[in-house]
């Protein structure tokens, strides 16, 4: 660390304690002007809390913040912006029914005239390579474009510190590269960037300095350029990573088939499914990639039966037309499903693990004459806890009391132990620590080797390339053809993620491609 320059921001001994968890304990961090500084850690390591403290959203219980050498107490986000701190949150705060310039105006003090503001937005967007039309309505923008709006909104006030909270989780690989160019340009102009992520390859590519957090405490500093992802992972989780075993598949008969699946979204800003075709055979894993919000939720609830479709032949499960069937009847055919939301959908937060096992296991002899067989279901829950190494207080522990990763292991375990013929898993390892993620992927692969047809939806391309036999992409409610994993690569899937696969309406030139697509096509 240089001793000549005054650090742009310095944190000393920051501690924040929530009723149930210590989010930050004695955390110190120093970032110099022009530095792209990574804050690295698993989900729940305390990264976001630390950033919210800097941005004035959360007050620390102890410790101090030095802004350009002087101690400050950041009262609220408005105060942070006054100081010159900007933050782009993981979840955007834009009004879909307003235009870009109207959204930006809402975040600025006073009542700025829209004409000149639009002019400035265009200037900033050109200067930093963030093309966005200020007159467009936000709901018509892609996720990448929305993120640009959020970044431009920060840049308008010339920040000297920009905080980016997991910015790439919603972007295609090509859009990620564009973002990195912008961030490097900003850093070259002297802006400090705090970059939060758990994606090690990105950090290695972008950042010049890193602070690693584990369980709320700093476990190390490093220069990512001099580290390997493996060595950083060790700092992050405290041990080496297991790697899943993957042998060639021998697919059998088709067990899940989608044929011309369509559904109009009742929500004007929702995604309608159009002509979705897919076949998943016994003993293979088909992955579906895509930027979130491109119809994944709609597709999943159509397959699971939570939102049945009109055409009963559009979904064929184990040879039965199930399009109009409710979830219970589909499950009776051997269908199991791990949804993206664990608390409230995959599990009832305020019920015990035994009760939560009953939620989907009740068909397998755990109810007799209408009464629950408590001893047997507790035994099943215990088996799931043991086999999937779920850290918890036993079958009677409330689902809510488990960490996200452990609950995910329990839900995946429950569905796998029900011996499905077809298993659909959404975001199998979202928010799960790296060790547990590898474990879950291995279990999914093992299940495939036993002849189960498996469909995995994920936003993590690495994960899909690791587990899938074939890979398809969902974009704007349409599904690409599924390609064997050996015949494709991250670049091609990245292009497909913006809806540009051969034969897609956008690619054929039927629709004018959005700004994002043009960039994707150039890349």
């Amino acid at each position: 660390m240089s001793t000549t320059a005054t650090p742009r921001i310095e944190l000393r001994g920051i501690t924040k304690i929530y009723p149930s968890v210590v989010a930050n304990k004695d955390v110190s961090l120093t970032a110099l002007p022009g530095e792209i500084h990574a804050v690295l850690g698993e989900n729940g390591a305390g990264k976001s809390t630390l950033m919210k403290i800097i941005y004035g959203v959360v007050k620390p219980d102890a410790g101090e913040v030095l802004w350009e050498g002087t101690p400050v107490v950041v009262h609220n986000p408005a105060h942070a912006r006054e100081l010159g701190i900007g933050m782009v949150f993981q979840h955007f705060s834009l009004f879909e029914t307003l235009t870009v310039v109207e959204n930006v105006a809402l975040g600025l003090p006073g009542n700025p005239p829209l004409g000149p503001l639009a002019q400035r937005i265009t200037e900033v967007s050109q200067k930093y390579g963030l093309p966005v039309d200020p007159r467009r309505l936000v709901h018509s923008l892609s996720v990448g474009e929305r993120q640009r709006v959020e970044i431009i909104r920060c840049l308008l006030v010339n920040p000297r510190l920009l905080i980016m909270d997991e910015p790439t989780s919603v972007l295609t690989p090509q859009a990620v590269r564009k973002l990195f160019e912008t961030l490097r340009q900003l850093a070259a102009e002297g802006c400090t960037i705090l970059y939060i992520s758990h994606k090690l390859d990105e950090i290695q590519e972008l950042c010049t300095n890193a602070t690693v957090l584990r369980a709320g405490q700093v476990t190390g500093h490093c220069d990512p350029r001099k580290e390997t992802p493996k060595s950083m992972a060790r700092m992050m989780i405290g041990k080496d990573l297991p790697h899943p075993q993957h042998v060639a598949a021998t697919p059998g008969e088709p067990l899940l088939a989608l044929a011309g699946l369509e559904r109009k979204s009742p929500d004007p800003f929702g995604v309608s499914l159009e002509d979705v075709n897919l076949t998943v055979r016994a003993g293979e894993i088909v992955g579906i990639a895509g930027v979130s919000g491109n119809g994944q939720q709609e597709l999943l609830s159509a397959i699971s039966g939570e939102a049945p479709v009109r055409d009963r032949k559009a979904i064929v499960l184990c040879g039965v037309n199930v399009g109009r069937m409710r979830p219970g009847r589909r499950r009776r055919l051997g269908f199991c499903f791990v949804p993206e939301e664990r608390l409230g959908r995959g599990a009832v937060p305020r019920m015990s693990l035994a009760d939560n096992a009953l939620l989907t296991a009740h068909r397998y002899g755990y109810v007799r004459r209408g009464l629950i067989r408590f001893a047997q279901i507790a035994e099943f829950a215990q088996k799931c806890i043991t086999e999937f190494t779920v850290k918890c207080g036993g079958p009677q522990a409330e689902a809510k009391s488990l960490s996200g990763g452990n609950l995910q292991k329990f839900i995946v375990g429950r569905e796998i132990l029900l011996k499905p013929k077809v298993l659909v898993v959404a975001q199998p390892t979202w928010g799960v620590d790296v060790g547990a993620a590898a474990f879950i992927r291995q279990k999914i692969i093992d299940l495939r080797n036993e002849g189960v047809a498996i469909l995995v939806l994920s936003e993590e391309l690495d994960e899909l390339f690791e587990v899938s036999d074939r890979l398809a992409v969902i974009a704007k409610g349409r599904l690409s053809p599924a390609k064997p994993i050996r015949e494709t690569n991250v670049e091609e899937i990245g292009v497909w993620m913006s809806g540009m696969w051969p034969g897609a309406p956008g690619a054929a030139g039927a629709l004018p491609p959005s700004v994002e697509e043009r960039h994707a096509a150039q890349a």
Partner: protein, 364 residues
């Protein structure tokens, strides 16, 4: 130094049990102040209100008699409330149960058939369910709010009963009073304790508590109701039919209320009158919540609520206080319960400002 209400990491089980007791204690304290303000000797007033009514066998049987419909309806409501099906119209369903049962009783007036009572029981349940089916149908078909619909139907039911006893079912020998004929012996619940009014209805209510306990805590259907209430998305994910849960919750609570209505006209009243219930259907809502939507809790809460009814009557006679006292105490109890319930999910913490020195100590 200031007080801060902060969320507990998880709801306190202890407070879940303590809260109704705390509410009861606070109600007593508020009552104490109230009696004093009214110029009554609070100790004597309390004796009149809470002890005098149950000082002898007759008093105790009256307590159980009035507790019967409360626990019966309360258990039924709890089944719905567990599933987030908010039936507020148990009073109307009770009235319909009384009308249906009364209709059967009047039809059997000149017969001494042994089936009269059983038929009345079924008719009462059917009447209550029918009335509850209206909000259930409207909610599942048109997504209306069952709170509003079931509540408004109370007034429809009440006017329907009023019309029946004024017009078609009026006793021709009743000196033009708006009331039906007295039911025959075969259409009345048998008396349990000779010389009192305590009847078979009490055992019916106890039976409902037992069945309710098994249903809610042991049966898979009860489990589905609870899941639907706690996490509707999880219920849909698991394949539980949401509409079926609404129907189940409404029909069970409506049926119980209807049986309670039948019990009133086949028990202490013995005929149809323009009013067959002193608001049992509404009081049972409080009973269900004070009893934590748990059948055993409801059993205890119904005894407390019944005592409030008796105490209110005693206060009218012994202390010359208005009958509104009963409603007032019911309201106080619910108010304090909801207030105490805050502490199930929250706790009070004393916040001391951190002295600046301490911050530096941590930094160093």
């Amino acid at each position: 130094m200031r007080l801060k209400l902060e969320a507990r990491p998880e709801p306190s089980r202890l407070m879940g049990y303590l809260s109704p007791l705390l509410a009861a204690a606070l109600t007593v304290v508020a009552g104490f102040i109230l009696f004093s303000a009214l110029g009554k000797n609070p100790v004597q007033a309390f004796y009149t209100f809470f002890v005098h009514p149950i000082r002898d066998l007759n008093g105790v049987t009256e307590l159980l008699l009035k507790a019967s419909p409360l626990m019966l309806i309360g258990v039924g409501l709890a089944c719905g409330y567990r599933a987030n099906v908010w039936n507020i119209g148990a009073e109307g369903q009770l009235i319909l149960g009384a009308i249906f049962a009364g209709g059967v009783a009047l039809a059997f007036h000149d017969s001494d058939s042994k089936f009269a009572l059983a038929l009345m029981f079924l008719a009462g349940a059917l009447g209550g369910m029918l009335w509850a089916a209206i909000p259930a149908l409207l909610r599942t078909r048109f997504n209306t709010n069952e709170i509003l619909v079931s509540l408004m139907l109370v007034y429809v039911a009440s006017l329907l009963l009023s019309w029946l006893v004024h017009e078609p079912w009026r006793d021709p020998e009743g000196f033009n009073f708006p009331q039906s004929k007295q039911f025959s012996e075969g259409a009345l619940y048998p008396i349990l304790v000779e010389g009192t009014r305590l009847n078979l209805g009490f055992l019916v209510a106890l039976g409902a508590v037992a069945i309710g306990y098994v249903f809610l805590n042991r049966s898979f259907l009860g489990f589905q109701l609870r899941v639907a209430g706690l996490a509707p998305d999880a219920a849909r994910y698991a394949g539980f039919n949401a509409h079926r849960m609404v129907w189940l919750g409404m029909l069970i609570s409506g049926g119980c209320a209807g049986i309670a209505g039948m019990g009133e006209v086949a028990g202490p009243i013995g005929q149809l009158l323009p009013s067959v219930s002193p608001g049992y259907g509404f009081a049972a809502i409080i009973v269900a919540f004070v009893g934590r939507l748990h059948p055993v809790g409801i059993l205890l809460a119904s005894l407390l609520m019944s005592l409030l009814y008796l105490g209110g009557e005693a206060a009218q006679m012994g202390l010359a206080l208005p009958s509104a006292m009963t409603g007032l105490f019911q309201g106080l109890l619910l108010f304090f319960l909801l207030g105490s319930d805050v502490f199930i999910n929250y706790r009070v913490r004393v916040v001391r400002p951190v002295p600046p020195l301490a911050q530096h100590a941590v930094a160093a």
